[in-house]
Symmetry: C2
Subunit: 93 residues, 2 copies
């Protein structure tokens, strides 16, 4: 069964998400997806870079993809927002 | 000879960078790199998504990579900052 190894990056401090990703890998996850939307995208990139460079040397960034999502506003109108997914993975054993 | 088809995204409005990318492709560029650092990373993703979805359907995002750069501060100390490169390309003719 696939576990849900997705970390959604929002407006909290960078280190809380870094810790969440590191914890997932330390608990044996082979792959973790770091996701964010809008202005949090920069923070998601920081999270991935800090995990890779400061905490877990052996973890690599496999693939980064972006898309545009439609968000419903309170008044029923729609706004478009960019989203990013950063796939990080542990080395194959 | 390789032309320099790199657009550096900073703190200006998104549309000025979108226009710069669209202009490069309209002038015949096969590939354009959109680059940004720090908080501008989110804007760079917006630029790429808007170019692809609103202006140039046939343009694709080929590869996205991130890295950590060292910036020298005025006092001589160094700060680390995340950077992104988004490679966009026109279809092969």
């Amino acid at each position: 069964m696939a576990e849900d190894n997705t970390i959604y990056v929002g407006s909290k401090g960078v280190m809380s998400y870094v810790l969440a990703v590191v914890t997932q890998f330390n608990q044996g996850a082979d792959e973790v997806e770091v996701k964010a939307r809008g202005k949090s995208i920069s923070r998601a990139v920081d999270v991935a870079e800090i995990v890779k460079n400061k905490f877990l040397d052996e973890i690599s960034i496999d693939e980064i993809s972006t898309k545009t999502e439609n968000l419903k506003n309170d008044d029923g109108s729609e706004s478009k927002v960019s989203a990013i997914t950063i796939k990080m993975s542990a080395p194959q054993k």
